[in-house]
């Protein structure tokens, strides 16, 4: 498999595009014509060939450009990457998990050669070659978590497990849907989910935590989450709200198809063997409404979901003001025909 990497931006002139292949493999998150929270988790043990579920860490055409965008965010705000002192071992766990997975899943792009603790890592797309000693921080240019997540798409929350809870004690967060690592660091599962409406009353978080605490080595899990973003922005952070928040007011009936994006997160969960911690990678996929409606089933269904989603959710997800515009646009692609079950195109 060869990937043609895009040269594109996620800011200023927004040259981000999805190829036809990227549109076809987009993780459309709605399996029916309506949406409500659920503990929608399943095993993360591969998926259909070519789909974003196939590999443990999906690498796609946006890889190089996403990594450039991450470096820009970190230059401006180093606090997007933090690790409390007891999380270094979990950082090594994560480095090992990603290097082993990528070198096995994409042997043409990544290589890992191990001789005891002397490791040799080759990342061809980014042109990186690094010899280092595993578990010796002084042999890498950054700490282990920062080193490997500067080379891996998606945000990463590194969680400590203790006292029957999970604690957000480290992370690399530059492509987030309006939450802040700097604010959440050190919080437990219930604390960092406190702003989410409705789900607490539904008992969602209690059940989700119970599920997560029991995820074992070799048994990773995954789920999807979604929101709406104006412009193909990766960094929709509270820290930079003054830069992107106002862009939400630039939607018009003429530009909504190009400027309004459905933002889907593939969230995966892996138990980390040495630290007994967990890593929670949150990978962001963006698709413009204009591209999305090229799959007729998705156009019909998204119209129905956005139209009917409860007001609290639309407010929390930040698109309540633009909902009429979005629904108007999507209604043109909904002929009322029935849709088939499941997320895949017909």
């Amino acid at each position: 498999m060869t990937i043609q990497f895009n040269d594109e931006t996620f800011r200023d002139d927004y040259t981000f595009t999805n190829s036809e292949r990227a549109i076809k493999r987009f993780p459309f998150p709605f399996h029916e014509d309506s949406y409500m929270y659920s503990v929608n988790m399943e095993q993360h043990q591969g998926g259909p060939e070519g789909s974003i579920y196939e590999k443990r860490f999906d690498v796609d055409e946006h890889y190089i450009s996403e990594m450039k965008d991450r470096a820009l965010v970190l230059d401006e705000d180093p606090l997007r990457c933090q690790s409390l002192p007891h999380m270094t071992l979990a950082g090594w766990d994560l480095l090992e998990l990603i290097m082993v997975s990528k070198s096995e899943d994409y042997p043409d792009l990544f290589e890992l050669h191990r001789d005891g603790n002397n490791w040799h890592w080759i990342n061809k797309p980014l042109g990186i070659e690094q010899k280092f000693v595993f578990m010796d921080e002084s042999t890498l240019p950054y700490g282990p978590m920062e080193y490997i997540t500067r080379q891996t798409q998606g945000d990463f929350a590194l969680l400590d497990q203790r006292d029957e809870n999970l604690w957000m004690d480290a992370g690399m967060v530059t492509t987030q849907a309006d939450w802040s690592l700097d604010f959440d660091i050190g919080m437990n599962f219930f604390e960092w989910h406190a702003p989410v409406p409705k789900a607490h009353e539904m008992g969602i978080f209690k059940r989700a935590l119970k599920f997560l605490l029991n995820i074992q080595q070799g048994m990773p899990a995954r789920r999807l989450n979604w929101t709406m973003t104006v412009n193909p922005l990766l960094d929709t952070s509270p820290e930079n709200y003054h830069k992107w928040g106002a862009q939400k007011t630039t939607l018009t009936p003429e530009n909504v198809g190009q400027k309004q994006y459905l933002r889907v997160e593939l969230q995966t969960f892996f138990r980390l063997p040495r630290s007994n911690g967990m890593v929670f990678p949150i990978r962001c996929y963006l698709i413009s409404l204009e591209d999305l409606v090229t799959i007729p089933k998705w156009g019909r269904r998204l119209h129905r979901v956005i139209r009917d989603v409860p007001e609290e959710l639309a407010t929390y997800k930040g698109f309540i003001d633009n909902r009429p515009l979005i629904v108007d646009y999507l209604s043109k692609f909904d002929d009322g025909a029935p849709t088939s079950d499941g997320v895949w195109p017909d």
């Binding site: 007891h86 071992l89 203790r162 080595q217 048994m219 040495r274």
Partner: protein, 321 residues
């Protein structure tokens, strides 16, 4: 989801009797590959085909977590038990093929601790052996207090005192040696975490003493696996699976459910982790709760049961499974 669904085929490559009661077993991957790394305190569930019965017993991994070539466990023979340890002692030979689960850790080190204070009783030493190896490799500070009956039954006493002469303290009951617990807990530096593995009485003693001395609950960790106890046979009905069968005298409810071909969730099989919690739809009789997972009010409600260790006495129990 049962942790046991992720399994590893292994071969027994070494069996070493340590003393009258304890024998060590070594497992390597049957395909010659490497085993998963793990964290100190983790256990594996070993499958034993004992005639008609399949037993799944958890044992703490005691080998170096960084050594991926082999896992070792130490098993104390329990002559009064239901047979798992006896099976390992009497029936398992070098070269035998067995199936074990991926490592699961319900007794992990708190990596924030400035000092790890370990208190072991008897065969409760095994998880600490792996934790000590992990801490030694990362310059972690630990201190072990290990109580056992006497020198002859003190598994790994010599290894530990030789390797860590300043960090290991051993107490032989037969010589009247006893841990001065209050004094020990009183003198610990801020940021110390306590870990206890041993008989129930010891765990309660340390937890109660720590609580009385004002230790924060989060700084006191313990692991106690209960072995399922035998009891009177009883009839169980699984509503979802539409099955009805007997649970034998020496069989646990969970084992009987598995023997009926139903894939029920579990992790520790010792009443500790909560994974196998099952809703009771009807119970014409008395549930004998033996776990330490359910809250007292849940036990009294008669609506929940932990089938790994708890039993039933009466006409029939109907489960939502």
């Amino acid at each position: 989801m049962s942790a046991g669904t992720n399994k590893i085929d292994v071969v027994v490559t070494d069996i070493v009797p340590l003393n009258e009661l304890v024998t060590r077993f070594k497992f390597e991957r049957a395909d010659g590959g490497l085993l998963p790394t793990f964290s100190g305190g983790a256990h594996t569930v070993i499958e034993m085909k004992d005639g008609e019965t399949t037993r799944l017993n958890p044992y703490s991994l005691m080998s170096d977590p960084a050594d991926r070539h082999a896992y070792t466990i130490s098993v104390r023979r329990d002559d009064a038990g239901r047979g798992g340890s006896l099976f390992l002692h009497k029936n398992v030979r070098i070269g035998d093929e067995m199936v074990i689960s991926y490592p699961v850790n319900l007794f992990a080190l708190d990596l924030r601790a400035r000092k790890h204070l370990m208190i072991a009783g008897g065969i409760g030493i095994t998880p600490f052996l792996a934790q000590i190896k992990q801490l030694s490799a990362t310059n972690g500070r630990f201190e072990l207090h290990y109580a056992c009956r006497n020198q002859a039954l003190g598994s790994y006493v010599d290894d530990l005192t030789t390797a860590h002469p300043n960090n290991v303290h051993v107490y032989f009951d037969d010589d009247g040696q006893a841990l001065d617990l209050e004094n020990l807990l009183d003198g610990q530096p801020l940021g110390t975490h306590i870990y206890i593995c041993g008989p129930k009485g010891m765990i309660n003693w340390v937890r109660d003493t720590a609580e009385r001395l004002g230790w924060p609950r989060e700084a006191v960790h313990y692991e106690e696996f209960l072995a399922p106890q035998s009891g009177k046979p009883f009839t169980v009905k699984l509503a979802k699976s539409d099955l009805e069968f007997e649970v034998g005298e020496h069989q646990s409810l969970l084992e009987a459910i598995e023997a009926a071909g139903v894939d029920a969730p579990y992790l520790c099989r010792g009443g500790a982790c909560g994974q196998c919690e099952t809703d009771v739809l009807e119970a014409d009789g008395e549930i004998l709760h033996r776990d330490h997972w359910l809250e007292d009010d849940e036990k009294e409600s008669g609506k929940k049961i932990m089938p790994c260790v708890s039993r039933f006495e009466g006409r029939i129990i109907v489960l939502d499974r």
